[in-house]
Symmetry: C2
Subunit: 352 residues, 2 copies
């Protein structure tokens, strides 16, 4: 719960066994019961602050409003919430298009929230979702509402269908649509090894991200399969952004014993890294081979064109939307859907 920033507030231990009443919500939100009613029926007559507190308290307690309000809630909204960790990241653009077009065909609209690491925003959208303002949600941020990415905390009680996309959520009993990150990273590592590279650096994602954990395991798998020893000195921390690639490049440039190949776990990092190498007078791939991950549009037109792992981004978005629509329309959905990736060999990796 610490991500919600309110762990210290009183939450009755027994809310999980008796019916939650409007009084519980009012107490937790520190408002009158009339304000709770107004926040649900005529939100424009309540201050934004009070509204946020009420919605947050509803999410925490799992309160179900009175019959009249429940009738309102039972009406479908034909809206789906899409939760992103970073809307400014190019990686998501085609995924969003895949989600949007599939939802639209089925008659649903898309509400986007960019959580951007903000606990306030997270609490707001948890409440928004719990209050039935959308029919379902697609989570691309690697955790359930109320939990951290490490699975800490009690998930908010959300009764509408949820689907996880890209970042799997371990233990969550919802459909999860992803690629096999571990196998893909192993494959790229073995590709570099088969080109004769023995010293292969690895530029990581954020270490609390499951994509990073899986790709890192895949990197080690690939080294092992190729008979190469893992050297922790060749792991450079990153976070999937261009700027992290620039920093990783500076790290490499400053080294005396450089690796002959670098596996960047995102194309944005690979493109930023190559730029830094060029600025230092190093050539790609002649001096250092560079590989990416994702196959964003800019990978094919980078100079040199980037060898990378192709993720079917539009199809990932479509598959997640389809799984959610199945649930919304009373059908079932497989719990785990893995789409195929592809090793795309271009010009940024050379044989030794």
């Amino acid at each position: 719960m610490d991500e919600l920033g309110h762990k210290d507030r009183a939450e009755p231990e027994d809310t999980r066994i008796r019916a939650v009443r409007i009084q519980d919500v009012a107490r937790l939100a520190d408002v009158s019961t009339a304000t709770v009613s107004r926040a649900l029926a005529t939100p424009e007559r309540v201050s934004p602050e009070a509204r946020a507190r009420v919605l947050e308290a509803i999410a925490k307690t799992g309160y179900v409003p009175n019959p009249a309000a429940r009738t309102l809630r039972s009406q479908k909204t034909y809206m789906v919430l899409v939760v992103l960790p970073d809307l400014a990241n190019t990686f998501f653009s085609k995924i969003l298009r895949g989600i949007e077009e599939t939802l639209f065909e089925a008659g649903y609209g898309m509400i986007i929230s960019d959580l951007d690491g903000s606990p306030e925003k997270e609490a707001h959208f948890a409440a928004f979702t719990a209050a039935g303002r959308v029919d379902g949600a697609i989570l691309l941020n690697g955790h359930l509402f109320g939990q951290s990415r490490d699975g800490e905390g009690q998930p908010a009680r959300i009764t509408i269908p949820l689907v996880a996309l890209c970042e799997a959520i371990p233990g969550a009993d919802i459909p999860q649509i992803e690629i096999d990150n571990r196998a893909a990273a192993s494959r790229m590592t073995q590709h570099l090894a088969s080109a004769g590279h023995r010293r292969i650096a690895y530029v990581s994602g954020p270490t609390n991200n499951i994509l990073e954990r899986e790709r890192f395991l895949g990197f080690k798998d690939g080294l092992e399969a190729a008979g190469l020893a893992f050297d922790p000195a060749l792991v450079i921390p990153g976070d999937y952004t261009i700027e992290a690639g620039v920093r990783a490049g500076q790290d490499l440039v400053a080294r005396s014993a450089r690796p002959t190949a670098v596996f960047c776990t995102s194309d944005e990092m690979a493109i930023g890294l190559m730029r830094t190498l060029f600025s230092a007078g190093l050539r790609v791939p002649e001096d250092i081979s560079v590989a990416g991950f994702d196959d964003i549009e800019f990978a094919a037109v980078a100079e040199p064109a980037l060898t990378t792992i192709h993720q079917p981004r539009r199809e990932l978005g479509q598959a997640a939307a389809s799984a959610l629509i199945n649930l919304l329309q009373g059908r079932s959905s497989p719990k785990r859907i893995r789409l195929e990736t592809e090793l795309v060999i271009r010009d940024s990796v050379t044989s030794l």
Copy 2:
């Protein structure tokens, strides 16, 4: 109205002078009045097709539902619709972030629609907006609902506040947030001319887009200011995408008398074009100078780093959201807000 694809349906000539009744909506939608009522009160009990037809008919007629439904409509939704021409375009990612963060601070959520040239989608979201499912809308697609980009057709009767962003909508009496595209293009053209370039090619955007029309005027302004003649043979058609840049590069490579500089009106086109030049053995900027427009994240890390026009994308999104919030909260907003651009000189342009 032809964008809605229903010009041939009967629309009474006098709907603009007498009160529109539910019967008018039912007739236009080819359903019973009971279905119109149900589509508004309990949409889940109506087929998606009938729902879409009813919403479309409401948008066309400007029908205001009965008092009970009107009460429902008068409730704020705390949602804003953002209409994009192409969600997959990297250019929009930071703009969306600027919009989203500003809306969120004011207590509003963001619904995104990617119209993608689809008349069905356009009609749906026009109806959605007319029916009061959102409190306001930000239009990035260069036209009002029901009109073409050329201003043809009767705009849908939308009574909620609207704001135009990036692509101005000539004649629309709504706040418009943009950059001075003409002045920025003139500035870049003069920069190329001042570096000694006399034969400057121009890679355009879509010709029905106001951004293109303004930038093209600016290009000609810049030539004139530099005392250079305009040569139509040096105008290469494009559409702002990487692929268009690749095609423009192929066009240039095939020419015997090549220009010494190319002004691409988007960075994506400049990056695609440079790639094609490299593949043909040409060097940038030694053989051809290349300039872009937008300053997306990839411009600074392109090889060579791209000389371009910086657009304050996040601030554009924030300004549009602020203008809309002013209207939503009963305050006024200036009708035209122009944010400053910046000429960013990097490595892709050389002096002759």
